[in-house]
């Protein structure tokens, strides 16, 4: 069962799953039997707003770490997210076509974006943030956002 780090900023509660890694944009990467599942963090989905459309690179696409993986259109903004791993897209969440609100409803679960077959996951991990590091970064960003309100 996934465990979470949790913080409250202003009236918002943000959670960070502790069983995966993150890039600086809040894209998470979770290793599963040699493959890596990718998704967006709770903070990212709350900050971005309700997702209207999600376009993910199709199966078969080769991605280097930092290449564009997905573009999300929300009621507020259009945002591009980059891949936290190098490898090939082998699965795209079918819910992204007809029910992209899954990103908002369950960002660490049913709202995953894609599965990537990594070339060197061990090397990629060294460039990512562990849950505690991302939690601190996320909390700082959330507090800065709250000051603007």
């Amino acid at each position: 069962m996934t465990e979470f780090l949790e913080t409250t900023v202003d009236k918002f509660i943000f959670r960070v799953a502790t069983d995966r890694f993150y890039n600086g944009e809040g894209v998470w990467a979770k290793e599963e039997n040699g493959r890596v599942r990718i998704g967006l963090s709770d903070f990212v989905q709350q900050r971005s707003g309700d997702v209207a459309f999600a376009e993910i690179k199709p199966v078969g696409t080769l991605l280097a770490l930092g290449d564009e993986l997905a573009v999300i259109e929300t009621i507020k903004v259009n945002i591009a997210f980059t891949s936290p791993v190098t490898g090939k897209v082998i699965e795209v969440n079918p819910a992204m076509n007809d029910a992209p609100e899954a990103i908002n409803q369950d960002p660490f679960g049913e709202g995953w974006l894609a599965v990537i077959e990594p070339i060197d996951w061990t090397a990629d991990q060294t460039r990512l943030l562990d849950p505690q590091a991302y939690f601190i970064r996320m909390k700082t960003e959330a507090e800065e956002e709250a000051k603007k309100l």
Binding site: A52, F53, E101, N104
Partner: protein, 144 residues
């Protein structure tokens, strides 16, 4: 019977849009409601402002509790739908602007006080869908 009395006797569907001020999707919901009650179905649809329900206005509460109601929500908080339900109303159909936008992706709404062309067209598309529901409700009421 006077024309005025005839109008009073006609059943009307109540329309309650989002009151989100300063939000594009809230503006789309209100523009759709105005389009519906002023242009598309002025004889069979009437507006009840969400703010009056929040304030507990007696006439507004009576309107939603006594007539089939269509709500138009600007976001997932669904304030219009929740407030109608809390006021004892019967939500016959709830529209969410985001869901309608997903069906008309080419009509991306922008702007707040004044919508862009996409927003105006999206509001009209939403109003057209709601008008069909109004017709169904009126027909159902007359048959039933």
């Amino acid at each position: 019977m006077s024309k005025k009395l005839k109008n009073i006797d006609k059943p009307k569907v109540v329309i309650v849009p989002c009151s989100g001020i300063g939000k594009t999707y809230g503006t789309v919901s209100r523009e759709a409601a105005y389009n519906l009650i002023e242009d598309l179905r002025p004889e069979t649809a009437q507006l009840v402002p969400l703010s009056l329900l929040v304030l507990g206005d007696k006439n507004a509460r009576q309107a939603v509790s006594g007539s089939p109601t269509i709500t138009i929500d600007g976001c997932k908080l669904a304030c219009a739908t929740k407030m109608v339900q809390e006021s004892g109303g019967n939500v016959a159909q709830d529209f969410a602007v985001l869901d309608v936008y997903r069906r008309y992706r080419q009509l991306k709404p922008q702007g707040i006080a004044n919508l862009n062309e996409g927003g105006e067209l999206l509001a009209h598309a939403l109003a057209e869908e709601a008008a069909e529901v109004v017709d169904q409700l009126i027909a159902g009421g007359q048959n039933g």
